[in-house]
Symmetry: C2
Subunit: 301 residues, 2 copies
């Protein structure tokens, strides 16, 4: 089928590489510089020291016109508003299935006004690192979870799930809320802690004091987010720290490179929930402002 | 009068330089290396690019025998136990006036069993930087507050106060509890925040997000420590941040140089108070463990 990928970041480029195997793919990017580079040189995909150079269809997002049956939105949450604006202007959106891969849950309310056929949401568990505008490294095998958020015509999602790609599995999840919550709590604990402390993920388990905070902070978050199976979720969280122990989290990398972080999508949402439920959130509040302050410092350099 | 200064750190060396003007001073140090260097080369005292080299009497603390009328203890709080052990062994301590210059308030309970004539406590507001074992720089003019903790024979303190030294004032405070609390709250806010964030003191006022935490954290501390005039204390705290805006706090420097910090003397004490009063202390707990964890990381390098 025809698939449009919106976003030329690490996940967008990863999707472009893998989905090309079975589908007709086009990547939509924001910058002319990136489009020109990809058009001229193709995409460089690297995994375990093996480098593949391939041709990928690429266009500017400003020229997008909803021609694809499935549209995967792989931009950061804070870039979503401009994408949604263009979606709303399109009179062909009702024929499309949209799949949103953002972190957090704050964006869900923005999706309600879209008149697409089906709206799906997903979470990615891949490790990927974009080192140039047209060069992505697949650093960690994972999967993409997806779930239907609205609509019941799921033929495009069914097709995606029915045509497995080696080393790039999709997994269907019945409960979108549970799926996003699980990812949110992982992001909300690991990202801010590692970013404030400037440590690799594994240190949250190894350092006694950091581990104490890790546990206390999880307690606060799981209460605010009303996680049903706290023990299981906590084991999942520990497991991810262990598997990614040598990684620097995405938020830490964002701060390192003076980019905006996803703190609003992650802890901003948690703080809204806490306010709504009138719950105390001292840890969340603390880490929210520590990261916002660090973002602000970084932006000045 | 005869004054013994215990501790060859930055404050100990600063005291040695200034008190020599009117008194017979001897510095007691722990390391033979430092003693030998000071005995051979003298003390280098530097202020505003002016360097003074002078002879200072120096001995090993292990040879100390309570010969001085006034003994000023200028070691870190975590080094106090070994000093107190030697004090307890001395049968001449009852003739001495002791002045303790430690941060925090956790050490007060340790002082109760000493049978000295008078026990005074003090807080220092000087900026000083020891760059070699026998070289100290006076980086910021300040004063030493002192107050009587126990005993009423204050002749030695009166003599100290009666003989003013240029650029090195002593100030008498009626209420030792109030005096130590004021210093504790300044240390408890500025030190952990700047050390976790790796920023200069002034950034706690300039960065909106850090400033928000600065205020919230002060609220928690002033409740736990039962500060009487919260507004005045807060203005004092802001004032110190402003005056020292270009400084890196002592705790930040300790972490930078992989030394132990004074976190137990400062926030350890606050957490004990909170527990005693059954008060929530999420910020204090959080910063306590962030610093302890960072100390642990640093210690491994």
């Amino acid at each position: 089928m025809k698939i449009g990928i919106i976003g030329g970041g690490s996940i967008g480029l990863l999707l472009a590489h893998y989905l090309t195997e079975h589908h007709e793919v086009r990547v939509y990017v924001r910058s002319k510089k990136q489009m020109d580079k990809m058009a001229a040189e193709g995409l460089f995909f690297e995994k375990k020291k093996k480098l593949i150079n391939e041709t990928i269809n690429v266009s500017l997002f400003s020229s997008w016109s909803a021609e694809e049956e499935l549209i995967i939105v792989a931009v950061k949450q804070y870039q979503l508003p401009s994408v949604l604006e263009k979606f709303r202007e399109s009179n062909r959106l009702k024929n499309c299935t949209l799949l949103f891969l953002q972190n957090g849950m704050g964006h869900l309310k923005l999706l309600n006004e879209l008149n697409a056929k089906t709206i799906a949401v997903g979470t990615t568990e891949h490790g990927a690192n974009k080192i140039k505008d047209n060069h992505v490294i697949h650093t960690g095998d994972g999967l993409i979870n997806l779930s239907v958020y609205r609509g019941n015509n799921v033929s495009e999602l069914a097709e995606l799930l029915a045509m497995p790609i080696r080393n790039f599995p999709f997994k269907f999840q019945e409960d979108w809320n549970e799926m996003l919550l699980q990812k949110l709590i992982v992001n909300a604990v690991i990202n801010p802690l590692t970013a404030v402390l400037n440590v690799k993920n594994g240190m949250l388990l190894k350092n006694t004091h950091f581990n104490y905070l890790f546990k206390e902070y999880f307690k606060e978050l799981s209460t605010i987010l009303n996680i049903s199976n706290k023990e299981k979720t906590f084991r999942h969280l520990e497991d991810i720290c262990r598997k990614t122990s040598e990684n620097r989290s995405s938020m830490l990398k964002d701060l390192d490179e003076h980019r905006p972080t996803e703190i609003d999508a992650i802890l901003g949402f948690v703080l809204e929930m806490a306010k709504e439920k009138q719950l105390d959130a001292p840890f969340s509040e603390n880490y929210y402002h520590l990261i916002k302050g660090k973002e602000y410092e970084g932006g000045k350099n």
